[in-house]
């Protein structure tokens, strides 16, 4: 019903205006016409009365019975002269009726016992004074008539009579009624005509609007080369021009954006290629160094004197460190491209991933007498994420924990299902008994190149990229990572990762998920996990 509503409205307005003016003018015309016809009729009645009064009065000479035939003939002839006359009376000056002609019969009252008399006061007054007058009278039966009094004064005096003519408005009213009917008919015909004209007119106006609507719709459907042409020389044409200008602008902007986007994509590809090349260039020499150093220290290239052996070990350690840093840089440059989860995703069983990581760290922690424990909830769901990146997250956090935990310390990893901000996910906490992190540094440690103590770079190695990488990856997975610490007592790194799309459990039948306070304060409550 959306379509045509405006057209109907315009048509209705036009039709309303036309109908109102039509009805008004018809009424005015009919009423004025009626009045003038009525006045004409009265005028001719008065003229008729004054003209007829004399000959009619003269007929009183034929009052004898012998002259009746002539009298009747004459009266009938006189009556023919006016269509509206219903009654003619000749009245003497006292008001007594001498002759009355009514509906085809003529009555004569002469020397009668009691002739009918005029009773109407005004008429009677005019008669007695021999004045002429004309009044509109309502008869006892309710009809309106026009009564004219015309005096007949004979030159020689003697008989003094007045003519009282009664005229009917019936003809005038009939005309009025018929013109009313005619007007009504004209109005009805006009109404139909108006409807047609107004719909056509409104359609003409709507044509431009309809084109604009269609154009806008196609534009919104992405047909950017859509333009609207209206030549109505009015606001709609202006609107069409504005629409076209807007479409031009939109098309240009989108073209520019597409071009810019293509350039960015090219740049991005170039950058990715460059990173790949750089990493190749760095890694190949590192591989040669690492390989030969390991062969040397393993005695594969013959025995080396004790002093040189120590030097080889130092070289090995530093090559190892350099390799890690190169790997970090490559990872970080990759990550900058991920604003969302567009990395390859797969189903990850966090259980085996964490177990694998703990195994790789096992030799390192055992060498330093650190107790590394992994506590997994039985009901860990599968995650759908980039396995390599998630592995990197826990590698870096654990690397950090091992680095800052003194010999003989403890590291505890707890993983369990956890609901965070209304979304299902998994919470992994890595708690160490190391030096801890100052309160003011808890947030900044995730910033790139940040280190709690500048001297720690020398002591512990690393460029401060590890945790920044962790944050990048976790945020790309729409997860959350934060640290809790009490200085001197140790630090806890908390990673929360959402379950994306499917919610499935690992094959082992699960316990209900453990709900924690968001600050993870009840860490004692999950020891059995």
């Amino acid at each position: 019903m959306k379509r045509g509503r405006l057209q109907t409205r315009i048509a209705r307005h036009i039709a309303f205006a036309v109908v109102v003016s039509l009805v008004l003018s018809a009424l005015v015309l009919v009423v004025f016409r009626h009045r003038s016809v009525q006045r004409n009729m009265e005028q001719s009645a008065r003229t008729y009365a004054s003209l007829v009064s004399k000959p009619l009065a003269g007929l009183t000479g034929y009052l004898g019975s012998s002259g009746r035939g002539i009298l009747d003939q004459q009266v009938a002839a006189l009556r023919e002269l006016n269509q509206d006359v219903t009654r003619l009376e000749i009245v003497d000056v006292r008001g007594d009726i001498v002759l009355r002609s009514e509906s085809g019969t003529v009555n004569v009252y002469g020397n009668g016992v009691d002739p009918p008399t005029i009773t109407d006061g005004k008429i009677l007054r005019a008669i007695t004074r021999l004045d002429s007058t004309a009044v509109r009278v309502t008869e006892p039966d309710g009809t309106h008539v026009y009564r004219v009094v015309a005096p007949v004064v004979q030159q020689w005096g003697g008989h003094m009579y007045s003519l009282v003519g009664t005229f009917s408005y019936e003809r005038v009213d009939r005309q009025f009624r018929s013109s009313l009917w005619l007007s009504a008919l004209i109005i009805v015909v006009g109404l139909g005509l108006t409807h047609w004209v107004s719909v056509t007119l409104a359609g003409g106006i709507m044509q431009g609007v309809e084109r604009l609507r269609k154009g806008a719709q196609r534009l919104s459907e992405g047909k950017l080369d859509e333009r609207v042409f209206v030549s109505s020389r009015d606001e709609i044409e202006e609107l069409a021009e504005v629409f076209n200008a807007m479409a031009d602008e939109l098309q240009n902007t989108i073209r520019r954006l597409r071009e810019a986007n293509r350039e960015l994509e090219t740049l991005d590809q170039t950058k990715a290629d460059m990173v790949a090349n750089v990493s190749h260039e760095l890694k190949t020499p590192l591989t040669a160094l690492r390989g030969y150093l390991e062969l040397m220290s393993d005695g594969g290239l013959g025995t080396i004197p004790g002093e040189a052996q120590r030097a080889v070990m130092v070289c090995r350690k530093n090559v190892q460190r350099l390799s890690l840093r190169v790997e970090e840089l490559v990872q970080l440059s990759h990550l900058e491209r991920f604003t969302s989860l567009d990395a390859a995703r797969e189903e990850i069983a966090l259980r085996s991933l964490l177990e694998g990581i703990v195994e790789t760290f096992r030799p390192r922690v055992e060498a330093r007498g650190i107790d590394l424990t992994l506590r997994l909830n039985q009901a860990l769901p599968l995650l759908e994420s980039n396995g390599e990146q998630i592995e990197r997250v826990f590698l870096n956090i654990l690397d950090n924990a091992v680095k800052f935990t003194p010999a003989g310390g403890t590291i505890l990893i707890i993983a369990e299902p956890y609901e965070h901000e209304g979304r299902d996910g998994v919470l992994v906490r890595v708690r160490d008994s190391g030096v801890g992190i100052p309160r003011e540094a808890l947030v900044r440690i995730f910033d790139r190149f940040h280190q709690v103590d500048p001297s720690s770079r020398r002591r512990y190695g690393g460029m401060g990229l590890g945790l920044s990488l962790v944050r990048n990856i976790v945020e790309a997975h729409r997860g959350a990572v934060w640290a809790e610490s009490e200085e001197g007592v140790g630090a806890t790194f908390v990673v929360w990762l959402p379950i994306i799309e499917k919610t499935r459990r690992e094959p082992i039948a699960g316990q209900p998920s453990v709900r924690l306070d968001s600050d993870g304060a009840d860490r004692h409550g999950v020891e059995e996990a």
């Binding site: 790949a276 090349n277 990493s279 190749h280 760095l282 890694k283 190949t284 020499p285 590192l286 591989t287 040669a288 160094l289 690492r290 390989g291 030969y292 390991e294 062969l295 393993d298 594969g300 290239l301 090559v319 390799s323 790997e327 490559v330 990759h334 390859a344 980039n386 396995g387 390599e388």
Partner: protein, 128 residues
């Protein structure tokens, strides 16, 4: 004695790989050029190929593709040695027919372990 063929454009890398493998008792052939390596591989297929990915002219990927197209080279186990650590790269080479993938910089022990594992596996079967 198993014969391993090393293809890498870096002479130092070829040298290192050869040293490690020889120390472990393998017979080693080497080539630093993709095209001549392919010709030699097809002429006399070895027991295993160590293949670098990034090489000028004919790179590792292309070589692998051509090798797998030839009936003589279709069953030779190939261990890819590359600096590319991306998941997609690894998946890509495995789809092209590589049997395993090792990332630079690797430890000699890891390399030897992978080589032994591939040689122990039945021909034509993909090792993880």
């Amino acid at each position: 004695m198993a014969r391993v063929f090393v293809v890498d454009d870096e002479p130092d890398m070829v040298d290192l790989l050869a040293t490690i493998l020889k120390a472990d008792g393998f017979e080693v052939d080497t080539d630093t050029d993709g095209r001549s390596a392919l010709a030699r591989l097809l002429a006399e297929p070895p027991d295993l190929v160590l293949l670098d990915l990034m090489m000028p002219d004919l790179d590792g990927m292309e070589l692998l593709k051509l090798l797998r197209l030839d009936p003589k080279g279709s069953l030779v186990p190939v261990l890819v040695v590359s600096a590319r650590t991306g998941h997609q790269d690894q998946l890509g080479t495995l789809q092209l027919g590589a049997n395993a993938y090792i990332c630079k910089p690797f430890s000699p022990r890891e390399l030897v372990r992978q080589v032994r594992q591939l040689l122990a596996a039945p021909q034509g079967e993909t090792s993880e």
